[in-house]
Amino acid sequence: LTLRSQCLKDSKASFPGAMALSLTMLRGAMRHTNRALAQARRSFATGNDFGVYTGNKKVPFVSDMEFVQPNTLPTYPAYRIMDDFGNIVDGAKDPEIGKEECLKIYETMIRLFHMDTVFYEAQRHGRISFYMQNHGEEACTIGSAAALQPQDMIYGQYREAGALMYRGFSLQQFADQCFSNNGDPARGRQMPVHYGSAELNFQTISSPLTTQVPQAAGAAYAYKLAEEDRIVCVYFGDGAASEGDFHAGMNFAATLKAPCLFFCRNNGYAISTPVTDQYAGDGILPRGVAYGMPSIRIDGNDLLAVHEATTEARRMALEEQTPVLIEAMTYRVGHHSTSDDSTRYRGTDEIQDWSKNRNPVTRFRHYLERKGWWDEAQEEAIQAKERADVLTALTTAEQKEKPSVDDLFQDVYDTPTPNLERQWSELQEHIAKYPEHYNSAH
């Protein structure tokens, strides 16, 4: 119609020029019409402005070519309830977890702090071979464990002793594992901090990173099929989230709708590798969104936020039978392990700042004090008590016997295979020949 009126207008102009112009426009118009007709034919099959693809997925079409520029997208915000001083922030609601529960959480934090301090020193003095601290991440692991149910299966990476401790693993049990003594149910087979407890639904830690993530998806699927009131919570760090197993585990849980809570402790470092070398995107959170699961970023040093987010995530996972991702922003105050000196790759100012000004434990303590549930006298008492208890567990563990060498051949299989029986008997003959060398004296 536009073209027709244009042609009529043109015909009123000088004749040959107008004709030429009109013809050009007519040709152009016909090309345009042909294109439109062709497009209409295609669109008719799929829709006018959308296409339908495998899985009945409707994808809208646009004619503006626009690349998504990730660095122009806003950073996903982190949910918090308390400020750095333990005050409830404007707009947030005190979740009212309750005095008894809060005190249990706080005591666990203090106990964990002292265990970490003493056991680290024990390694420096050659009494245990290796140790990893949890300083700075107490709220992440204890807060989330407190929000889970005892029957929920926990898969950890190696910095979740807080969760295990909250569930009831005793200082003696921690010490026995670190000293690889007779009290360790794993018979001294693994390095310190590779804890596990069937009784407390805490899967044994293994050193390879992120292998626990697809396993967690599989376990969650089992609970789904059995329709149990039970989820899986799997912990991993910012570095571990770069492994292929992370992608696999998240994707499997999402496509199979497994009730698995993926809890990322984004503590800023993977040994010496800062997150700026670990990923270019906006951390771990967008990956959950990309895999199609409800996801949230939280202030991992805010005990109340960790607790609340985990409570809600659990509810969602169970009721909606979906995986959920929580990315807890935190900071690794301690070195990676006793084999690391982190002052070689980060400033002591940075460590001090987090340790003094953004400490999850002191923050929670201020909250407790404000509630009238805690005071200076209690603080002094608990610091002394927990330290004393840790030292007792340490010295007791050091005195205990090591496991028998016969344990070397058990549990490789359900029943030792003939080759193992044979090697065991050869070893026994060998030991009998050199008793002084093999006597397991402390």
Binding site: A198, Q203, P214, G218, N251, D411, V412
Partner: protein, 309 residues
């Protein structure tokens, strides 16, 4: 699937029946919650299986081709194999069975023909099984699935179509860790597994025509392997050939030969020989030259008999 309500079967393309039709009609029969597709990730499939089995369930995982098992090796070697041991038997993943088609098929080339049993055998804590025909496959697979230990079950893909024999309808199991003496013979012991048994049998018949009586052993289980049956046979015959499709160097045959020379040295009348695939990637157009076929095996038999004289 019938006898164990926790049993699930999963992997790439398992839902519609599988690229080799191994799961045909099973989704209809047992439902999509128990027979299903996973995303395309072998490490995911293996890890998922471990986690499912850690809750006490039976996880039957399929890796589409054994050539693609390598992304799963971390889960197999570092997790599956050590799961019970590292936890002090608080946890185990014995409910895992990983099935993977393996071996030459005539046109598979580098990535549809591999036999990775040597990589797997070097892993204390897992069981590795390879059947040589349908009847064995059924009995060994049921044993593998029901085994209290995690099993990798390698299925020679050439045998899916070509191997035909009566298979009992009923539920039966064949013991793991036990070799099968297919034919008794006094002159020389031939040992193989999987698809190689067909070629060893051809060679055995050709040798028989020349008056050589071969004892033929199907190892059936690669790990743990049946040392007693093998050594008993070689002590009797005094001569031995081990034959496998996988490349010669550091192939699983090396493990057998090493133990045989150690256990049977004073009974040996000739060096123990291996007839294996060559130390190249599995070729496509030259497959027929690569394969340790009945002619190569027959030549080796004659060679050993000659040396023994």
């Amino acid at each position: 699937m019938d006898t164990d309500e926790t049993a699930i079967l999963f992997g790439e393309d398992v839902g519609f029946g599988g690229v080799f039709r191994c799961s045909q009609d099973l989704q209809d029969q047992f439902g999509p919650h128990r027979v299903f597709n996973t995303p395309l990730s072998e490490n995911g499939i293996a890890g998922f299986a471990v986690g499912y089995a850690a809750t006490g369930g039976t996880a039957i995982a399929e890796i589409q081709f054994a050539d693609y098992i390598f992304p799963a090796m971390d889960q197999i070697v570092n997790e599956m194999a050590k799961f019970r041991y590292r936890s002090g038997n608080q946890w185990n993943c014995g409910g895992v069975t990983i099935r993977a088609p393996c071996g030459a098929v005539g046109h598979g080339g580098h990535y549809h023909s591999q036999s990775p049993e040597a990589y797997l055998a070097h892993t204390p804590g897992i069981v590795v099984v390879m059947p040589s025909g349908p009847k064995d496959a059924k009995g060994l697979l049921l044993s593998s699935i029901r085994s209290p230990d995690p099993v990798v079950f390698l299925e020679p893909k050439a045998l899916y179509r070509s191997s035909v024999e009566p298979v009992p309808d009923e539920d039966y199991e064949l013991p793991l860790g036990v070799a099968n003496v297919l034919h008794q013979g006094s002159d020389i012991t031939l040992i193989g597994w999987g698809g190689q048994l067909r070629l060893l049998e051809k060679a055995r018949l050709l040798a028989q025509k020349e008056g050589i009586h071969c004892e033929l052993i199907d190892l059936r289980t690669i790990l743990p392997w049946d040392v007693d049956t093998v050594t008993e046979s070689v002590i009797k015959t005094g001569k031995c050939i081990v034959s496998h499709e996988a490349p010669l160097t550091c192939g699983f045959g090396a493990e057998l030969v090493s133990t045989i020379q150690n256990e049977c040295f004073y009974s040996l009348e000739a060096p123990v020989m291996r007839v294996c695939g060559m130390d190249t990637p599995f070729p496509l157009v030259h497959e027929k030259y690569y394969i340790p076929n009945e002619l190569k095996i027959l030549d080796a038999i004659r060679d050993v008999m000659e040396k023994a004289k």
